[in-house]
Each structure stands twice: as structure tokens, then as C-alpha cells.
């Protein structure tokens, strides 16, 4: 086996894949070959690096050089310069907008400095399609330790002591969940990996499965051994083709190596894994709905109890854990509960992966220790707000989370803190908003999602969310009264209080949290018929500022409905009756002569 002097890690996650990452990978390989460097330089397609804003990414080891926005044509230069001459290609290095300088290696990038990667430890480090790379990264060591040296009770105790809580959103103590399932006796039990990641913009589970599928398989075997289950099922949405592809390879390889199947490692323990596809319904992330979907039933939640641990898949005791939860398990076993529980806050141990999105400079996937503040995440890791605008709010917890503001920025992030300020951890979505965002419109946007994704089983969620959305629409059109706001709040509270599953119990959060934190904005919409951020179309109009207009006709020429009149070098006028508020005139005007009022 060749001993390489250099490794070129090319991101093979879905994002970079979509930006010609595959061609870049192939070009790099070809260049290496053409230069006869096959024995010195290894080119590997890895999982996601997380820094999706600047993909495709190429990382060069051992010097940690971090190239961003690399195109396939850059392969030649990277090999010629970096591999042959040992000089980094400067123009491809990351430029830090805050420090205003190029950062030569990843360790010094603001994006990575405060991150602690446990669940994502192998993403961007190893070739996910090669089990040997996982084994080289201590893969399946935890499984070996559990199967050969530990009793099921000891394994459960380790997970319990680690303080790990479910990463899918609920935050239920994982060890306790395992213990309950282990105590329910049946001829067959099941272990289910919930890979039905449904929050819009969230892709932590997908990244783990794409970048490190074996860690999930390893954890499932450990889980199976701990609770006495010999069958594992991975419920994954069919719209994750790359993750499914890599999972299938991983399962085949693990079976080939005897790490799945009968008598694993001579322990006498049998365990195998099957993949089940979901059609992408958000509610199927709820464990009872997920189980019904796997059974071929309509994807609807049922009342708990019975919990899946009592009566789950096919009526048998079933333990359902999320992908990210599983990704923590092998590390907890190898490094110990004590080590894991030393990270994080009192009641939330370890790290959490977040998908950073919205009006933030560094969009991407990050993993941070629990207890880090929102400020650190947004302004240090995230690199602050795009275009130097003012931070307004951050929505955590996916579509059912709440919008937090300036005053919450120093709140240490953990399960309980987020709940206490009216939001939640959820599966780890984090969407940043700036001064241009209208909070009524934001609440409406999220409700649109929950209306679409409600299964329709219980009345408050089926009809209530629809009504919430309609009420928000009325507010955004300036047709609501303060009494309507009272009704809106009451309705939100009742939906939370009476809905059957987590979807409806949290779907009004965006409404309630924006009402709590941005009440003035609601009042402006209702009483003054004004949208302070200039977003709600029915409440704004575009006007020509007479003193700035030079009569260049740019606005009139670009207006799609021809509602702007005026001769050359004359003042232009917008016909309000015809204007569709498309913003084209404002974008085209070079003289700041169009204003939103």
C-alpha cells in the first residue's frame, strides 16, 4: 500500500456535488495521474465539510490548506502548484470578510475555530464509501468493545451516564429510552434509525449519512445489543439519493466484513439492517407516524402511550433514535461517558449540529458544544450578517421553533434554555434574519410549511394551523384588528395545548414568539396598516423621489407591467393602481430615486 505524502480531500456532499464537485474530483485524480503522482498524492471524495457557503471545498492534508469555491478547471493549477511545487494556490484560499485577509488553513478559520466535531468527526475526513477508512479512524472499535467486553446493561449505563439526549428534537434522554426498550420483553425487538430529516434547510442527518454512514450502522448494532434487538431499520426519505447510495455501500461492506449479520465478531450476537424509504412527509419524523409509515399504513401519529418502546414496529418493542444521536454513540463508548458529559451544560451534554442559514455570511453545517451562545454562533462561526446589515432575529428549532432576538443572543444554547425563551432545539435548524425581514411575514412563511405538512388527523392542527395562516395573511394585508390579534394568540395557545403530536404542539411557536418579541410590528400592521420592514406587499407602495429622479427611464423600461410613465429627463410617476410591487424599479434605479413607503 502506498504511503501518501499528501491527501486531497474533495467534498462529496450533496451541495458540492451539485456544484460540479464530482467533476472536480475526477479532474484532480486525472491531474495526479498525468503528473505521475499516484503514489504520493491521494485524492478522496469525502463527506461534507460543513462550509457549504463556499463549496466546492478541497482540503489538502497535512498542511490543512482549505480551498474554497473550487471549480473543475482549477484542478490543474492545484496539482501543478500545490502538489508539485508545494505552494498553495492563493486565489483559492478563503477570504475572511471580518478580518479582511486570506486564511491559509482551516484551523484558523473563524468558521471552524469554535466548533467541536463529535457527530461530524469523520465528515470531510474519510472516504464514506470505503469501510477501511472508517476502520482506520477507529471505526467499529466501540462496537467491538460493547459486544465483547460489556453487558447490555453496561452499554445502556454508559449512554445514560453520558447524558446524551435525543438530537431529533425531543431531547429525551437516550440512555433512558434504551433502558425502557430493554425492559420490555418480546420475541422480536427493533432498532430504528430516524433519518426522515424534514426541517426545511436542515441537513445534519443527511451529511452524517453521506459522510460517515458506518458510524450510524455501528451505533445501531450497539443499540440492538443493548436492548436485545436483532433487526435494525433505517427510515430515510427517498429524496436523499446520495445518502441512500452510501448507506447501501456501507451496509454491504459491513456485511462483507462480518460487522453486520450473524455472530458479529464471534460475540454470538446477530444484527442486520434494512433500509426503508419515506416519501418525505414531515410528520413521519414523529416516531409513531414513522413506524406506521414503515408498516405501510398512513403516516399519522398515534397517541402515546403506548410508546414505541412498548409497542412499536409491528407491535413489538422498538427503539427509535435520530441519525445524529446515533453518530454520538460510538464516541461515547470509546471515550467514555465521563468525557462526553464534561462537554456541554448541566442538562444538555455534548455537542449539537446546526444548519446555519439565512442572512448570515457563513452558511453551512456546524457542530458546537452545548452552552455556546447564539452570539458566538452567529457572529463568530457564522461570520455575522450579510452585507453588514443589522441582526434582527434568529429562528431556531425548524419550522416549529421560535424567533429569538438581540436580547437572547447571550443565552447559552441548550435544550432547556431554548424552551424557556419560547423556542426549541428542534433538529438544529438556525435561520438568521436581518432588519429587512418582516416578522409577520416570517411567521406566515413557517405556518405555510406546517399547514402543508400537517397530517390532518387532529382538528386543532388540521384546521387551526390553516386558520393561523389565514389570520396572518389578513394581518399582512392590513385587514386585521387588535381583536384579531387576541384571537390569534388564543388560537395559537389552544393549538399547542390540544394537538395530538409534536407538530401541532409546536407549530404556533413562530407566531407566539414573534408576537412576544415583535409586538410593535404586529401593531404597526394592524393599527397603522404599515409593514415596518417593507415586506408585506399590500402595505407598501413604491414612489419616485422627485428630487433624485433624473428621468433616465431605466425604471420605466424595466417595469413588467408598464406602470411607470415619464418622458426622458422628466420626473417619472408610478401608477399605484397598476403596480405589482415587484421591486424591479428600485433595483434598476441608480439614483436612489425609488423608495418603498
Amino acid at each position: 500500500m502506498a504511503k501518501y505524502k499528501m491527501h486531497m480531500l474533495v467534498c462529496g456532499g450533496t451541495g458540492c456535488h451539485a456544484s460540479e464537485g464530482q467533476m472536480l474530483f475526477e479532474n484532480l485524480k486525472k491531474e495526479v495521474q498525468d503528473n505521475n503522482l499516484e503514489n504520493d498524492v491521494q485524492v478522496i471524495a469525502t463527506g461534507c465539510f460543513g462550509f457549504c457557503e463556499k463549496g466546492p471545498i478541497v482540503k489538502v492534508i497535512p498542511d490543512n490548506t482549505f480551498y474554497v469555491s473550487v471549480e473543475p478547471k482549477d484542478a490543474k493549477e492545484i496539482v501543478a502548484e500545490h502538489a508539485l511545487k508545494g505552494r498553495a494556490v492563493k486565489r483559492l484560499l478563503y477570504f475572511d470578510p471580518v478580518r479582511k485577509e486570506q486564511i491559509p488553513d482551516s484551523k484558523h478559520m473563524g468558521f471552524y475555530k469554535k466548533q467541536l466535531r463529535i457527530a461530524l468527526r469523520n465528515c470531510g475526513m474519510i472516504d464514506p464509501e470505503n469501510i477501511n477508512e472508517y476502520l482506520a479512524a477507529d471505526g467499529y472499535e466501540a462496537m467491538g468493545k460493547v459486544l465483547l467486553e460489556m453487558t447490555p446493561e453496561e452499554a445502556i449505563k454508559e449512554v445514560m451516564d453520558s447524558g446524551l439526549r435525543g438530537r431529533g428534537g425531543g431531547g429525551f434522554p437516550t440512555g433512558l429510552k434504551w433502558q425502557i426498550a430493554s425492559k420490555n420483553h418480546a420475541d422480536q425487538k427493533y432498532v430504528v434509525c430516524n433519518a426522515d430529516e424534514g426541517d426545511p434547510g436542515a441537513f445534519m442527518d443527511r451529511s452524517i449519512l453521506e459522510g460517515d454512514p458506518h458510524t450510524v450502522l455501528e451505533a445501531m448494532v450497539i443499540n440492538g445489543y443493548a436492548i436485545g434487538a436483532t433487526k435494525g431499520l433505517i427510515y430515510i426519505r427517498a429524496e436523499y439519493p446520495l445518502a441512500i447510495h452510501r448507506l447501501k455501500i456501507a451496509i454491504d461492506q459491513a456485511r462483507e466484513y462480518g460487522l453486520l449479520g450473524t455472530d458479529i465478531l464471534g460475540s454470538g450476537f446477530d444484527f442486520d439492517v434494512e433500509i426503508r424509504y419515506g416519501a418525505g412527509a414531515f410528520v413521519c419524523g414523529e416516531e409513531t407516524a414513522l413506524i406506521h409509515s414503515m408498516e405501510g399504513e398512513r403516516g399519522e401519529p398515534t397517541f402515546k402511550p403506548p410508546f414505541p418502546a412498548q409497542s412499536g414496529y409491528l407491535g413489538k418493542p422498538t427503539n427509535v433514535n435520530n441519525v445524529e444521536t446515533y453518530a454520538n454513540i460510538p464516541v461515547i463508548i470509546t471515550k467514555g461517558a465521563k468525557w462526553f458529559s464534561s462537554i456541554g451544560t448541566e442538562k444538555s451534554k455534548g455537542t449539537k449540529v446546526f444548519a446555519l442559514a439565512g442572512k448570515i455570511n457563513n452558511v453551512g453545517l456546524i457542530e458546537v458544544p452545548m452552552g455556546i451562545t447564539l452570539r458566538e454562533v452567529i457572529f463568530e462561526i457564522g461570520g455575522g450578517i450579510q452585507g453588514g446589515k443589522k441582526f434582527k432575529a434568529v429562528q431556531t428549532g425548524g419550522p416549529s421553533g421560535g424567533c429569538l432576538t438581540e436580547k437572547h443572543l447571550d443565552t447559552p444554547i441548550d435544550f432547556d434554555n431554548l424552551l424557556s425563551v419560547g423556542s426549541m432545539m428542534g433538529s438544529g435548524g438556525m435561520i438568521v434574519m436581518d432588519e429587512d425581514d418582516c416578522m409577520v411575514a416570517v411567521a406566515k412563511f413557517y405556518l405555510e410549511f406546517t399547514v402543508e405538512e400537517s397530517c390532518g388527523k387532529c382538528s386543532p392542527c388540521r384546521i387551526g394551523n390553516k386558520r393561523l395562516h389565514e389570520q396572518l395573511d389578513i394581518i399582512s394585508k392590513g385587514n386585521a384588528t387588535e381583536k384579531d390579534l387576541d384571537n390569534l394568540r388564543n388560537l395559537s395557545n389552544v393549538i399547542k395545548d390540544t394537538s395530538l403530536c409534536g407538530l401541532g404542539q409546536t407549530s404556533p411557536n413562530p407566531v407566539l414568539s414573534t408576537m412576544d418579541n415583535f409586538w410593535d410590528e404586529y401593531l404597526a400592521h394592524v393599527n397603522e396598516k404599515r409593514c415596518p420592514s417593507g415586506v408585506c406587499k399590500d402595505l407598501i407602495r413604491y414612489e419616485v423621489i422627485a428630487e433624485n429622479c433624473v428621468g433616465c427611464t431605466a425604471c420605466a423600461r424595466n417595469c413588467p407591467v408598464n406602470c411607470i410613465s415619464g418622458e426622458r429627463k422628466q420626473l417619472h410617476v408610478i401608477d399605484q393602481a397598476l403596480c405589482i410591487k415587484c421591486n424591479a424599479c428600485l433595483e434598476k434605479c441608480k439614483f436612489n430615486a425609488i423608495a418603498v413607503i
Partner: protein, 590 residues
């Protein structure tokens, strides 16, 4: 048995472990309102999807409100069923449900008999603060059932009846969120599904999302047409339930009042389906004995058991699901159809009437009978033997609309000759009745001896599947009985597998038989009503002088004057039928 103590509305109650808050509250005479929960105790069906969220209660220490129907009691639990929080939530949820419901109570088929309407009254809803879009769907008019899903509140009771109880599997939830609705697969209409029209969905629907096709207007038109002779027949189960619609106790027999009311409504002849039930026994009993003796004599052509074929829901069910067993059911037509065939031939001849000038109407506890009237094989030159059927509920509405004081009516007798019947015919209305009636006649015909005891208690009861062996003087006849198509399926699967030990099986699609039919007064989940109706049926049987079909003098006369003997060629032409393999109809693309 572990007991649990809890407090509900400051009162302590002790219940068995596993009891829900809803049931525990009942013990304290606290009825928690609900729109979706349904407990059909005698049928072992507890429907508790926890979907309507009307039954929410406050449980101390719990973050959100708990659905009383699905939440099990735990030791020391403190429950409040009417705290301000609960009342506000309950009313808000109801307002939401109503906000997605048509406001057409004035002209709604279920007005005055609607759970949603009652709940709005009970909770005092006076205003709907959330006006918005309503979900709308294409109405579905099948030969028997109307689906108006604009009125569906997603209680899903119909699904439980269709899937769990009947195992027909036509209805299920489709679409998501606000568009979610119960429908046949691919949102086809019932006519393009495997629906048997048993009507159990209609029987449990809390609103008018599922109702029977209304034939009352047509009936009024026909009654007012002096050129038409309108003949009515009434099924046995109707008389045991009709009184409920007029506030009478369940189980009150109203045979005489019903006859009087029908006469007042203007029917030219008021006859009894029971007459045809006696006729059915003659034909079916003869067929049973014939098949039995041929089978015992080693005739391999004859397949046993013989199955009853009175129930049109059941006939559709095996035509869809057991096309390989089409030779197993008796070829005897149902009493409704035998009546129609005789009325439009024998009786028409007697009255010198052209069948085209006759309207034969049936009053049935059933909605599938409406469909049965439309089956092509039950018509001559396009003229149906039975023109149409109206349900017990429709009859009650007609009587009310005619301003007839039903309770004050004197008892009157059926007209002759098609109004004469025996006790054996009356018990057709309840599960086990047909086979008991057949047994009474077959026993005497086979043995030539008179039965000492007419009541076969072993064949009676409410168990979903029952069996008994009746000794025909040295010949043990094994009899099976099932009510509910799910129970029927179990017996049928055994027949298909060649494992069935029975010689004869009676099957009725509805719980309790026809007394629990889809066209009966709504039981609102109280199955004790069905038992009371059954009791009334047996009482009517017991009160009859003649209790064996073959002793009905007008039946004897019918054979003498017209049919010859049971199983004769004419009898076969008029009183027997054959079955077809049914497949879901294709939707035409034009």
C-alpha cells in the same frame, strides 16, 4: 387486577389499571364530550383515534391537555374536566371544526340528529371567529350511499367500521392537512370501489358526511299518482326500531302502528316482507335439505356449507372477495326480491294489474337494499321487481312530515295475502334468525316430525361468530353464524381452505343482523339498543300462533295456486338467482 385511585373534578374514583380518563369519568357520571370516540362494547370495537380533541381534559403536572378518550389513568392523577382552560380549548377546537363545515343545518339530512350540531348547542357556540377557506370535495352519489365530504369532521369512525369491523377496506384517510379526508383509494367514488353498501359507515357518521340516498320525494310523487298502485313491504327489523324515532323506548314493537301509518300515508296495499321471509325458508330450506342429502350421499358436485343469501351487503362482499365460492351461497333471492317478484306476478295477476302500473316499495333497515333493487337480474324488461327501498329513518321522516301522530295511532293489520307471516319470518331481523327459521322448517320436513321446542337458544346471541349442532333425528347438522363481514371473512376463509366443519352458515353484514342495519335509527354508539331490538323481535316471534314458515297458510296457497312446489321451475325463475364475480368498475375516460 390492579386498582388505581385518581381524582376527577375533586371526586375520587377507583378504576382498573388501563382504564382511560373518559371511562373513569363515566363511573362518576361525568360524560366528557367527544366527537370521534366510539365504544361499541358488544362488538369489541373501541374507536379512540384521539383526533377530534374535544374530549381534552387538564391533568395536573402535564404540560398540555390530555385527550380523555386515549389517556390512561395513573395512580394519584388529578383531572379537571371543566377548568376554564379546558372549556376555552374545547370551545376553540369546536369553533375550528365548525369553521370548516357548511352552515346549511336548515336543509341538512342530519339536522336534528347530528352530533356536531348537538355539540355546538351544548358548548354554546355563537360565533366563529375564524372565517376562512372551507375544504370542499366532489359529492359522491352511489346507488345507496351519498358521500358529502364537505361535512366530514375526520372522526374516522367510518374507517373503523369499514376496515376493522367489516374488513371491506374501502374507506381510509387520504391527502394531508387541511385537505385530509376519508375516501376510497385514489379518491374514487363508492360505485368504483369494493363498497358493499352495508351502510355501517352511515350508521356511525356523526354528521351528514355519509347518508343514505333519499327516496322519500320519489315515494311522495308515486303516492300522489293515481294511475299507480303502490305496494309496500316492511322488513322485520323495522318494526323493532321505528318507535325510537318517535321517542319510544328501544325495543318497543310498533308493528300495528307502522301498518296504520303506512296506510295513512296512502299506500294501496300494506304488505309484509315477512311473508317473503317465509317463502325464502321454503326455498332455502328445501335447497339446504337437497344439498345436504346429496352431499351425504357422496355427490362430489355439491359443495357445503350452504350460505344464506338474504343480505345484499354480504352478497356483494363475497362477489368481490370470494369469486371462487360463488356456488356456495344459497341461490334463493332475498326476501325483499322474492316479495317483489311475487307482487309483480302472482299478486298483479290476482289484481289484474300490469306490473308497469305498480310501484313496489320496501321499508328496510338497510341501505344496501337500495342497491339490491338496482341489480339488473331483479328486473323484467327493465321494470324492477322492487322499485326502490326506503330506510327506517326515511320512513320516520315521512311519517313526521305527514303530521301523523305516530304514538297515538291504533294498531292495524297487514293486508292479505302478502301480509301473512309466521314467527319464523320475524326473527329474520336479528342475527341467527334466518338459520333458526330454516332449522325449524328443515327439521320438520326432514324428519317428518313436529318440533317439540321451537326456540333454538343455541343459535341466538350477540357473539360475532357462533356455532351450534342441531340433531335432525340422527343427523347432526353443524350450523355457523356470523354477523359483521369481518367475522364472515373468518368463516369464509375456512370454507375456502376446505377446513369448514359447517353444513350451513348464516351471515349478516351488520352488527346484530338487520336490527343493526345501516338504515336504522342511529344508535349513537349505544349497542344495548341493538340488544333491545333483538329482544323485541324474539317477543314478536313468541307471540305468534304460527312460528314455522311452512305452516303459513298464504304460502301454502301460493304454492298451490301458482308456484307448484319449492324448487319448481317457476320458483327457480322468480325466486332464485345467481352470483357474479365482481371487480372494481373501471372509470370511463370520456
Amino acid at each position: 387486577m390492579e386498582l388505581i385511585k385518581l381524582t376527577i373534578d375533586n371526586r375520587t374514583v377507583e378504576v382498573e389499571k388501563g382504564t382511560t380518563i373518559f371511562i373513569a369519568a363515566k363511573q362518576l357520571d361525568i360524560t366528557i364530550p367527544t366527537l370521534c370516540y366510539m365504544n361499541l362494547k358488544d362488538l369489541n370495537i373501541e374507536h379512540k383515534p384521539g383526533g377530534c380533541r374535544i374530549c381534552v381534559v387538564e391533568v395536573e403536572g402535564r404540560r398540555n391537555l390530555a385527550p380523555a378518550c386515549a389517556t390512561e389513568c395513573s395512580e394519584g392523577m388529578v383531572v379537571k374536566t371543566h377548568s376554564v382552560r379546558v372549556l376555552n380549548a374545547r370551545r376553540t377546537v369546536l369553533e375550528l371544526i365548525i369553521s370548516d363545515h357548511p352552515f346549511d343545518c336548515l336543509i341538512c339530512a342530519k339536522s336534528g340528529n347530528c352530533d356536531l350540531q348537538d355539540m355546538a348547542v351544548k358548548l354554546g357556540v355563537r360565533d366563529i371567529p375564524f372565517k376562512g377557506e372551507k375544504s370542499t370535495y366532489k359529492p359522491d352519489f352511489s346507488p345507496a350511499i351519498i358521500r358529502d365530504m364537505d361535512k366530514c369532521i375526520m372522526c374516522r369512525r367510518c374507517e373503523t367500521m369499514c376496515n376493522d369491523f367489516q374488513t371491506v377496506g374501502v374507506l381510509s384517510g387520504i391527502h394531508r392537512g387541511f385537505e385530509a379526508v376519508v375516501a376510497p383509494a385514489f379518491e374514487r367514488d363508492l360505485d368504483h370501489s369494493e363498497c358493499t353498501y352495508c351502510g355501517q359507515c352511515v350508521a356511525v357518521c356523526p354528521t351528514a358526511a355519509l347518508t343514505e340516498i333519499d327516496h322519500t320525494n320519489q315515494l311522495i310523487n308515486d303516492l300522489s299518482d293515481s294511475s299507480k298502485t303502490v305496494v309496500v313491504q316492511t322488513a322485520p327489523a323495522v318494526r323493532a326500531a321505528l318507535g325510537e324515532e318517535f321517542g319510544m323506548e328501544p325495543g318497543t314493537l310498533v308493528t300495528g302502528k307502522m301498518v296504520a301509518a303506512l296506510r295513512q300515508l296512502g299506500f294501496n296495499f300494506v304488505f309484509d316482507t315477512d311473508f317473503a321471509a317465509d317463502l325464502t325458508i321454503m326455498e332455502e330450506g328445501t335447497e339446504l335439505l337437497d344439498r345436504l342429502s346429496r352431499h351425504l350421499n357422496g355427490d362430489k358436485e355439491v359443495r357445503l356449507p350452504i350460505l344464506t343469501s338474504c343480505c345484499p351487503g354480504w352478497v356483494s362482499f363475497f362477489e368481490y372477495h370470494y369469486p371462487d365460492l360463488l356456488d356456495v351461497p344459497s341461490t334463493a333471492r332475498s326476501p325483499q326480491q322474492m316479495f317483489g317478484a311475487i307482487a309483480k306476478t302472482y299478486f298483479a295477476e290476482k289484481q289484474k294489474l300490469n306490473r308497469k302500473d305498480m310501484i313496489v316499495v320496501s321499508i328496510m333497515p338497510c341501505v344496501a337494499k337500495k342497491y339490491e333493487c338496482t341489480r339488473e337480474e331483479f328486473a323484467t324488461d327493465g321494470n324492477p321487481d322492487v322499485d326502490y327501498s326506503i330506510s327506517t329513518r326515511e320512513l320516520a321522516k315521512l311519517i313526521k312530515s305527514a303530521n301523523i301522530d305516530f304514538k297515538a295511532l291504533p294498531d292495524e293489520d297487514f293486508d292479505k295475502p302478502l301480509g301473512e307471516s309466521t314467527g319464523a319470518a320475524v326473527i329474520f331481523g336479528t342475527t341467527g334468525g334466518v338459520i333458526e327459521a330454516a332449522t325449524r322448517t328443515a327439521y320438520e320436513l326432514h324428519t317428518g316430525e313436529e318440533l317439540e321446542k321451537v326456540d333454538f337458544e343455541a343459535l341466538r346471541g350477540f357473539e360475532g361468530i357462533r356455532s351450534a349442532t342441531v340433531n335432525f333425528k340422527g343427523l347432526d347438522v353443524n350450523i355457523g353464524i356470523a354477523h359483521g363481514l369481518g367475522n364472515a371473512r373468518k368463516l369464509l376463509d375456512d370454507v375456502r381452505a376446505g377446513k369448514s366443519e359447517y353444513h350451513a352458515i348464516e351471515i349478516m353484514a351488520c352488527p346484530g343482523g338487520c336490527i343493526g342495519g345501516g338504515g336504522q335509527p342511529l344508535h349513537h354508539g349505544d349497542t344495548s339498543i341493538l340488544k333491545a331490538r333483538a329482544k323485541a323481535i324474539y317477543a314478536e316471534d313468541e307471540g305468534k300462533t304460527l312460528r314455522k314458515s311452512h305452516l303459513n297458510p298464504d304460502i301454502i296457497k301460493l304454492y298451490d295456486e301458482f308456484l307448484g312446489k319449492p324448487g319448481s321451475e317457476l320458483a327457480h325463475k322468480l325466486l332464485h338467482t345467481h352470483y357474479f364475480e365482481k371487480k372494481i368498475k373501471h372509470i370511463s375516460m370520456d
